[in-house]
Subunit: 626 residues, 2 copies
Amino acid sequence: MPNIRFEPLGKTIGIEVDGETVLQTASRVGIPIESVCGGRGKCGRCLVQVRSGLAEVTPDDRAHISAADLEKGLRLACRLVVNSDLVVEISEEYAKAEQVILEKAVGEIRVDPLVRAFEIMIEKPTLANPSSDHLRLRMAIERALSANAFRPNVPLSVLVKLPRLLGNGGRLNVVLREDEVLELDSREIIPYGVAIDVGSTTVVAYLMDLRTGEELSVESELNPQIRYGDDVVSRITYAMSNATGTSVLQKLIIDCLNDLVERCCSASHVPIQDVFEVMAVGNTAMHHFMFGLESRSLALAPYNPVTARELSFKSTDTGLKIAKEGYHTSLPNVAGFVGADHVAVLLAANVLDMDEPRLIIDIGTNGELSVADRNGIASASVAAGPAFEGANLRCGMRGTSGAIDHVQISEDVDVTFTTINESVPRGLCGSGVIDLVAEMYLSGVLDRTGRIRRELGHPRVKVIDGEACFIVATESESGSGRPVMISQNDVTQIQYAKAAMYAGAEILMEKMHVDQFDLKEILLAGAFGNYASPNSARTIGLFPEVPLQHIVGIGNAAGSGAKMSLVSRAARETAKRIAKRVQYVELAAMPEFEEKFYAAMYFPHSDESKFPEVNTSLKKLARATL
Amino acid sequence: MPNIRFEPLGKTIGIEVDGETVLQTASRVGIPIESVCGGRGKCGRCLVQVRSGLAEVTPDDRAHISAADLEKGLRLACRLVVNSDLVVEISEEYAKAEQVILEKAVGEIRVDPLVRAFEIMIEKPTLANPSSDHLRLRMAIERALSANAFRPNVPLSVLVKLPRLLGNGGRLNVVLREDEVLELDSREIIPYGVAIDVGSTTVVAYLMDLRTGEELSVESELNPQIRYGDDVVSRITYAMSNATGTSVLQKLIIDCLNDLVERCCSASHVPIQDVFEVMAVGNTAMHHFMFGLESRSLALAPYNPVTARELSFKSTDTGLKIAKEGYHTSLPNVAGFVGADHVAVLLAANVLDMDEPRLIIDIGTNGELSVADRNGIASASVAAGPAFEGANLRCGMRGTSGAIDHVQISEDVDVTFTTINESVPRGLCGSGVIDLVAEMYLSGVLDRTGRIRRELGHPRVKVIDGEACFIVATESESGSGRPVMISQNDVTQIQYAKAAMYAGAEILMEKMHVDQFDLKEILLAGAFGNYASPNSARTIGLFPEVPLQHIVGIGNAAGSGAKMSLVSRAARETAKRIAKRVQYVELAAMPEFEEKFYAAMYFPHSDESKFPEVNTSLKKLARATL
């Protein structure tokens, strides 16, 4: 079998399977190559440069790569079958770029965790009272808890330790989770937990001291499942079309969680075996992958999940490497596309205490929306996220070094922008795209239908590959030697996404009998809420018009909700009540969704021919607050 | 490393550890060599004949083997270190002899098991009601049970199967154990359970249909731990003195249970994965070995067990190979030497319904005694068993082919006997020993102190190795070419054992304020109760004097109790109530035990000088009923 050498990493990998592609080889050994479509030759992202060896040109290569670049040896990794020894160069930037992600989560946490540790005093057995070790343990726990009929559940792995530890009585330290004895030792044990927000793109882990509720360290990683597609649907497609797909995706995310737990523990000098619970929340697909559940039903009508109930398994059941008797838990899901992470958001947003109506929006790779007030909660999901995260766009990229994150366009179409880490501009991340589209609209480059007005003859508007494009950073400004631009099709992608969000919000508000003028606040969760300009988001009509001061970023609320659930039984119970209270609205099943969706394609959010004065006034308002 | 070849098996085994003995090698690979003392050079049972190779003579060899036999190459396997290649011959009889054991257990059983299977109807999910698979399962179970708020606990291994099975609704079959879903399938599932009596010597397994309570098959095996000693104390000593001892003993018994379950299933054409519970009862030591618990505390004052509570673990925790989510359970223990098996005996004896006083005796390798009436239950244990099972006696053997099982001695000391399977006599099993001692006493060969009356000059009384012996079967009658005899020391062993039983019963009766004349019945459990002559047992004073018709054999009551618990929740609850109700009496802690014990050394059971008329009358009574 041939070998393949990846430069500049200098790694040589042997091919294992006839017909394996470069992308498959890279995925197998964890070498990062960007892929959005999951290796289906559709996204054109997985470019590698062939340095030596045979590399046929496929039709998909021709569709995505210019003749000049083909000549230079550029190929799609997903279409490049390794038939003989190869040397390829991958984009080092992709692997090395540090993600700017949210690591601070908020939320008031009353500490009352399921897992607790305390000291007990074991009595010595006597001939007159030869009580079993088990019974003496039970009595010691009862004394410590001042409980009368507490029957601890002792797992076999703890039971076998009793003779050694309890022999002649004395002081011991016990870790309980509800009625189960998770650990017993003569040393003092501080129980820890790890709360994890399992995002489709980024996984963030928080190490918590379960006695104090204190956050000790935070670590994050790219979700390694990305190699099977940036978006949820690509990964589900992968899982459905490969017999071992679900277990491959499960192993990837479990390895990632183990790695994060280990890094958190190492950073805070905490023994991993003292981590007794991992509370991991993700959207329903991430949740299903994590527990090894088939995700097929999430992709096919009626989009029902395998389970929506809060789960609690022994860590050994899922492969988490924490305390031997530790737990891997999750909050309840609501529906196929409203998952435990949104329940965590609603928990952190304190949704059950909302008397006046609020709209809660979590835009990650997927978008979830809820409208809540004293009468209840209605939630929906829209497949809106990828565009807002920079994916699927000509020059889209994640929020890493060199991403254009903020843009202004003056009335005479002068463009100014900032980039992450002040690097040379390489592409557009989510907040940059939203600014850009808003500014293009406000400056008149886009009309209200979203068309780039080529007829203006502006020098930044060019026709590239037969498509109108707006140049944000010129060739000379950009790091790659290529201009950073947005195309007509990119704008349309954003319109689809924002129209879906807007129409979804409209339907939820109707369901809850809430008018947009009744909205007390719009709460924005996730990285989007922190980085995107609320003004730009409002200008493009991502959500209903409310005064800017009523648009509130609530940070990584999914992480906050996970942390709250980890350190507070009350919060966990509240999360269950929230999940039950949520009325899930399947937008695909609503006949009015389509009409509202197409109307919301317009800027800012309605067909101006129907509501001319609203749009005009908003345009003025947006300019005024800039 | 040298090899060792075992004849007549023809097995050649490589030595793994420097200094390994022949007994250790044999144990390691499962070749059966009898050993009573656990390989400590004390019992002289583990004889092998060296056919070729170097075999030094050790002091222990000299203590147990005659000079002529040493010359022939006989050695103790436990003292024979393998320094060079060896060929040894083992006793094939030991391995091949079929045990006569009790396989029929009794007891009225009302069928209401923890594990039950039934059909459910799963609804199809719709866009209007896209319920999770988990929720549709729950609702289907609720409908089937007519229960309103039944929240089934679904293990991960079942949860992952839901999408495949529940996809479009339809009929399924579910197996529940309390609230846990153990299995789910489209095929019909009949749930089975296996009840096991884990005796120190013999392990008996009963395959039960959990729908009907029907017993489908019975299989039994020698307890393979026997290679580490016939008696419980030898095995505990082995476990205490070897770092891996406990896990070696656990593996042996778990392998044995797996083998029995497999054989039961195979005999009845039942799939092993449809066995959802194994209820295994044994004495406290067997119980501890089975669950891998240290047995050390059982051997040392205050003799407290690691646990006395009823246990219930996943079969995977202990290594049982049944249904993936099946359970390995046991009844509660009472104390260090009154185990779950005695609780099962008391359950089968229906002890909670006893108004009038009864004495319940289970003589296996250990002896357990209980006195029960409307006021309660008092239980004790005596290390009395081995002698009654033929162990530790000069010509003792288990109840296998060729064992003398019944003996009569006429007034003129003519001896007649029967053997198991009518084979040529090879030794004395428990029932034979009891008959023999009773008959020797009644015929005047023994005086009331247990002394063999050499002064009578009877031709069957001989002095061998400086010790008075009574010849039961002469050289010409016996199969081995050696006579079958009982020695003075053997008689003393029996006296120790019966005196302990009698003194124990006396103390329990005092504790319960029960006079021997109040005893309504004496219930004899186990093989002893079926095979030993109640008359002989009473004659030697194994238990108090009651009319013969009040001595009732109740069969393998431990097995019956295990079966009852397996198929009936009520029985399992009753077993817990029994274990709580039992007042455990630690005989070693009773100052009066010693005095009563020495008094009971006399035949039949009291110092005749104190109670001459009782003994005389009993002697007459025994003769009259013969």
